[in-house]
Amino acid sequence: MASFERFEDMYDSRLKPKILRNLLSEYVPNEKQPLTNFLVLSKVVSTISTHKLLSESPPASVDQNHHAKSNSAVDDWVNRLLALVSSDMPDKCWVGICLMGVTCQECSLDRFISSYSVWFNSLLSHLKNPASSRIVQVASCTSISDLLTRLSRFSNTKKDAVSHAAKVILPIIKLLEEDSSEALWEGIVHLLSTVVILFPAAFHSNYDKVEAAIASKILSAKTSSNMLKKFAHLLALLPKVKGTEESWSLMMQKLLISINIHLNNFFQGLEEETKGTKAIQRLTPPGKDSPLPLGGQNGGLDDAAWNSEQLIVSRVSTLMLCSSTMLTSSYKSKINIPVGSILSLVERVLAVNGSLPRAMSPFMTGIQQELVCAELPTLHSSALELLRTTIKSIRSQLLPYAASVVRLVSSYFKKCSLPELRIKLYSITTTLLKSMGIGMAMQLAQEVVTNASADLDPRSVEGFDAVSSKNMSLTNGAVLQACSKKRKHSTNSGVEAENSAFEVGVPHNHSSSPITLKIASLEALETLLTIGGALGSDSWRERVDNLLMTTATSACEGRWANTETYHCLPNKSTTDLDEFQLAALRAFLASLVSPSRVRPAFLAEGLELFRTGKLQAGMKVAGFCAQALMSLEVVIHPRALPLDGLPSLGNLFPESNSLASQKHNTPNPNKLNGIAHDGDDLCNKWLANADVPSNNAIQRTLETTLPFQETKRLKVGNDLATVTSLGVQDPTDMVASENVQQADVPVQVPEGSLGQISDKDATAPQDGYVEVVSGTQEGEDYVVKDSLMEEASIGKRESLDESDDDSIPSLKDDDFLSDSDAES
């Protein structure tokens, strides 16, 4: 009968029980039917979550009959799972447990509340039973974790939930201590993290046991580094259990002491012994009891370990990672970070570079030194990471220590040549710049620029840049897009492209780090430009702009020509190159947009580059280029739009103007013009606004680029009106938004036009004034303009209109004018 039933569409809720029953009978094993194909399980899970098969329709639904059906289907489902969970066969049991976890996530609220306790106990029994197979135990951990996660979302079952969670702790700690399978540890760590995060109260009596178990796992270091990281993360979460500042400080103190003790041993003969004792003294101030060592009294410093440098370093790195995690995760109470100790620890580690102080040399054998040196980079890397997270977590409060951190970073930059460590250093500088702002940019600028220039030096990777410089010479000669397009399509260049692809690929294959290093240094430069771009105008700015232009052009030229070639190769380094390209473009954009006293020197190159980039297939790059073009649009069309928020002053308080002029007896009647202006004609205003600064900017450029005498001569050589009008307009430096200032035209071109325009300018304001006044009378909504600037611009606009047919020898200027005419 049922098989004749028809459904409306795929959203018909009557479908759900049907599909569920079907899954149950076809794919889920039962007592008799064995599981044949594991792959179908994934299918079952995805079907359940796609169709929301376990969400029973609410009882109030229209169709009572339907409700009962869907209910009974889910009932069957759950019963089958329970049967499977208690099955003897490990595979069936495993299927049951896994699906139970999914059920906890998917099933309806009522069902979960009514039966979670039963489910929990049946899952827990597998953890308690040492005879269960490993895969079953792993699945149980995960499923219990999901059950607890769902449980944590109900506020009314909190107490019960905590007591349930508490039952888990002891069995899994026992498992953790006894079993040695990494997969199971992973499951246990996940479950413990869930309990720590969601039900910290469940730990109380067992806290020390948990800490000891995890610490001993870390100290034994007999597992993969990935697993060690997970243990470190869990250990870092543990202070959340008590949630007090003391527990946090205690854990941090234990970690730092343990790290320093390990280092005392490791650095024997490499540094003065007093350093170590001082560090420990600092951590255990006199008069206070020193805490129990990490992991309890017998927690781990067994003597056998002392001989293995590798073991010590892996321990120390894990403990440092743990401290880093503690620093960055959020806590509900305030925390006291021992910044002084952490910084001196970092300093201590970075000071050791494997060389032997003269006095110590007899005490160390060559082999010993070799072993130490082999492990030092790992240690330095962890120390740098610790430094980074410290900076990140205390942000502005680094202030008292900032100067010493800057010195540490700069001096280490000079010594460090390993790419991996330099990447870390760049990320530290980026963090410093972001968290401390302009003041930090003042301190670090020189260091960042020097190092980034060295790392971005095109000669450092030959193959890559040999090719791109070839391309560059092509493009530099004539930056014509058409040309490069031709090159792409011609048969000749096909060969060349392939060649270059080959060459581009090679260097990164055998030294994949330099490209990531370049990315890091580009990011550092970008941040520097973002935070303190205006500071370097006198010193490093020009060099950086130049460097970034070259880098961006070379990064793009090599790639765009042969995107297709790359796509053929399923090579991983392609993404690296994409990243590099993107980083180069981002930094280049920052250099174009970042405030500067002169017009960006490579604006034309930039626009061309981004325009070409916008047409590329790679969506990320194309998207960024589009965004870049939008940001640059403000640079090429400077806006000084009427301020929306500015009150129309002339409207309500005209007397204030007269008041001002009265009191100061200002001899400039033009002042009135700027105050009110017809606000409707936005286009005119835009033109006016965009137009004026060019005049000022020209003068600025004259002033900045030529020696004073020269400027004077030039001015005198010009129409006299120019000089006077400009002189009057701009006695001091022009204060305008940076955008406006950028709107200059090439220096040498406009001498003639300048004279003409401003010639009229001198006479124009009278007309402008009349127009403005009439505007004030008619318009409803007055927008106040920035006085003289506007006033001059109105005059200028008119003068431009008049001087329309004068051909001005500047290409840009000409375009601009004809554009404006068309619009007006």
Binding site: F38, D146, Q397, P400, S537, G645, L646, N696, S787, M789
Partner: protein, 435 residues
């Protein structure tokens, strides 16, 4: 987010606070008589104000109020009277400028005086942090405006090398500085200072020089900046609020664009609230007025008694609208006011014990969400099982096969040995038998 306005007076009275949106009067804090620029909110944590004292008093005083108590919670007594007081955005440091021209920097959490330096020749009148808290701009009675890099101030190494402490020194003002604002320009920011010499001056941080001089008909008491740039508001002694245009160009520079309104008495302080674009002014008449600068009409007025208002601050507080528990923990934390500020810099080892206290973020109380993992685990384990069916098992199989082969060979070997041995024994037997 709760936005409130707080206002204090130079005459001993209460600090008034009002909700900016509803206009409701909130808690009042007392007693307080603070100099201009002497009132500041320390992050979102609490309220601090330096106190005007009688000339005879030897030390200054700074009071703290927590947000939920009207009485003074903590009293500190710095060595001299503090005129200007301000905190950085995070509320971790408090900076005060004394009558002697010294500037003091305290760590809020511990109350330690971290740094004290001679900033100006005469009394400090106002202190402003840059947008990223890394620079401090100070103005003084002697007419100078100085920009300090805090990082460099703490750099003893550079200090010893005799460099000047300040980054920039702007000294074109001829009379006492009354207010300073700094815009959102980052490293290219503009600094505007107002002075009793009836001018406002615009300085460029990156170019380190005066960009613009704007003359007003009256001495300017206070400044507020329109965050969108180009325009600032200046509260003048002649009871007007002037609007100045930063961009304006003229040879003379008198750019008084208008006044928002007539009030009977001098405008003493201004504040701009970006949320809703409101300008708030305080006057000697005791009125606090909220303006809509677009329509230039007052939206709302508050009254702080008859005492002249000389400080206004807009305070934003994050309200954690959560369960009861979260609120109670807020209260618990709210009452945790740090210890009083210390008088002297500590010396020697004791200066820095190397502990930095980090306050929890206000939203760290929200419940944590853990993600479900079962579905992923199934995929992972299925994959693992599949792989065991292939690679691992194959290798194991090969190994077993090899071992099997080797054992077979060994077996053969033994068998041969045995046979040989047997043969030998048999032969011996035969020989023995024949013998």
């Amino acid at each position: 987010m709760e936005i409130s306005v707080i206002a204090s007076s130079s005459v001993e009275s209460e600090i008034g606070s009002w909700d900016l949106k509803t206009g409701n009067k909130l808690l009042q804090f007392k007693p307080c008589a603070s100099p201009a620029h002497g009132l500041t909110a320390v992050g979102e944590k609490f309220l601090a104000a330096s106190q005007l004292r009688k000339e005879s008093a030897s030390s200054g005083s700074i009071f703290y109020w927590s947000w939920n108590k009207p009485q003074v919670e903590v009293k500190s007594f710095p060595v001299e009277s503090i005129k200007a007081l301000t905190a950085n955005n995070e509320g971790t440091y408090l900076v005060g400028g004394g009558t002697s021209g010294d500037i003091y920097l305290w760590e809020v959490a511990t109350g330690k005086l971290l740094k004290k330096w001679h900033g100006h020749y005469r009394s400090v009148t106002c202190l402003v942090f840059s947008g990223d808290d890394s620079l401090l701009v100070s103005g003084s009675q002697d007419g100078t405006v100085r920009v300090w890099s805090l990082i460099r101030l703490f750099d003893d190494f550079q200090r010893q090398h005799g460099n000047t402490l300040y980054e920039h020194n702007f000294n074109e003002h001829t009379m006492s500085i009354t207010d300073i604002v700094i815009d959102y320009g980052g490293s290219n920011a503009l600094i505007i200072s107002s002075s009793e010499d009836r001018t406002c001056k615009v300085w460029s941080l990156s170019k380190e020089k005066l960009l613009k001089n704007i003359i007003f008909p009256s001495a300017i008491n206070s400044l507020a900046l329109d965050p969108c740039g180009s325009v600032f508001y200046a509260g003048a002694r002649d009871s007007k609020i002037y609007i100045g245009a930063i961009n304006a160009t003229s040879e003379y520079g008198t750019q008084v664009l208008g006044s928002v309104s007539e009030q009977s008495k001098a405008v003493t302080c201004l504040a701009y609230c970006a949320d809703g674009n409101l300008l708030i002014s305080g006057s000697e008449s005791g009125m606090v007025c909220v303006w809509d600068p677009k329509s230039r009409r007052p939206v709302r007025t508050f009254n702080l008694g008859k005492n002249p208002v000389n400080n206004i601050q807009v305070v934003r507080k994050t309200i954690v609208a959560n369960s009861n528990k979260a609120q109670s923990s807020w209260k618990r934390r709210g009452s945790l006011i740090p210890p009083p500020l210390e008088k002297y810099e500590r010396s020697g080892e004791d200066t820095m014990d190397g502990i930095v206290t980090i306050e929890p973020l206000p939203y760290s109380d929200v419940p944590v969400y853990n993600s479900f993992l079962s579905a992923d685990l199934i995929d992972e384990q299925v994959k693992e099982l599949q792989q065991q069916g292939s690679a691992a098992t194959e290798i194991e199989m090969e190994r077993l096969k090899l071992e099997y082969k080797r054992s077979l060979q060994m077996n053969d070997q033994w068998q041969k040995n045995y046979e040989n041995l047997l043969q030998v024994v048999m032969e011996e037997e035969q020989i023995g038998g024949s013998n």
